[in-house]
Symmetry: C2
Subunit: 196 residues, 2 copies
DNA sequence: TCTCAATCCTACCAGTTAGTATGTTGTTGT
DNA sequence: ACAACAACATACTAACTGGTAGGATTGAGA
């Protein structure tokens, strides 16, 4: 059971990197086989077809990664506005798993596969809903603890922040430079300060 | 000269719709030929290859469309904050050329082709830079006319607003519903009001 | 009306795609 | 030690991909 699991995981990880860099449709199974040194028979032993592998990437790799990088930094914090800013700063400027030239994996997947693959959309939707939920909670708690003004609508803010994050990721991709992140982050800080 | 031009334009328009809905890589030349009723010979008479057609779509269709729908509404206006809000509202809620389920054509193209096709990136970059420039000017003028606080950094705001627009387009695509646009627009209005 | 280039058409090709059929090898429990 | 199944390997296919070769048709100017 051990080695087979390793083979499967290897396929998922290498495939993710390929897809993150080049897109799902533009990553062929032969590409994956070449980098993993896995044969076609082995691939189709582990996955019924390409889409099942794509779904496994979302559920088994991206979902845990989101929890670790996008959600944990929002937990056990004092000042929610600082926490949100620090999280976005961390994701944009310091996380070296996410590459500026390739954008946001979840956003890429969404843009490429929605609305043509319902399973993908649903799996991605769950991931994003999770982030939304946690961020909304953080803001609500901030209202209770006085860090955030009571009139602030938590869900609206969460939508606004996450949209901005997705958009600036696309901007960075277009310009192929983290330079655009700087003015975005400054304005994000200004915006968050207005919520006090 | 007339009919040939019509053929070319027909190819561009139908191709744009296909690509907007399904992506560039996932739109085959045979797909285009089928819907346009144009033969392969005619296609390759008008375009050296698929990429040249893709570039023509950006430069000859998307660029003018951007000017008309994204830039003109920002010209000859009084209150710049209202103008920006109204523009985004128009684009998200009323423009029936842009479909919620397909997102933003420029963002889609960017995400799919960058960083693999330099020509595409440059052409798309020009389009976005144009929008950025106009929006920055609008904000600067608003500072002079007193509608916007003098401390506001125009370019930062433009980055912030455009990023949000791109992001919420992706959100709409994921949820396949304009519902998500509503909280986003409310918070956009709140944000813009803080710039007074 | 004739010419000739612009425009379009048909048949084809070599490469790539996801997926399958039919095996062989490795491992595990008894 | 051996049966039985998990795990992997090889060779293949049918459909599709972007692109080309070479010929047919059209229309505008002489």
């Amino acid at each position: 059971m051990k080695k087979a699991e390793a083979t499967r995981l290897n396929i998922l990880q290498k495939s993710f990197e390929f897809i993150y860099a080049r897109g799902y449709q533009n990553t062929s199974i032969d590409d994956i086989l070449a980098t993993t040194q896995v044969t076609k028979g082995a691939f189709y032993y582990h996955f019924k077809n390409k889409d099942e592998m794509g779904l496994a990437i979302i559920n088994e790799l991206m979902k845990p990664a989101l929890t670790k990088s996008f959600i944990e930094p929002l937990q056990n914090i004092k000042n929610p506005l600082d926490a949100i800013y620090n999280l976005i700063h961390l994701l944009l400027m310091e996380n070296d798993f996410l590459k500026v030239e390739y954008g946001c994996p979840a956003a890429n997947f969404t843009q490429e596969m929605t609305p043509w693959n319902k399973d993908f959309s649903e799996a991605l939707g769950e991931i994003i809903q999770e982030w939304m939920k946690v961020m909304t909670n953080v803001i609500e708690n901030g209202k209770k603890s006085g860090y955030i003004h009571k009139d602030v609508k938590a869900k609206q803010v969460a939508f606004f922040v996450i949209s901005g994050y997705w958009g600036i990721r696309n901007f960075g991709k277009l310009e192929n430079s983290k330079k655009v992140y700087v003015p975005y982050l400054k304005e994000l800080k200004n915006y968050l300060n207005t919520l006090k």
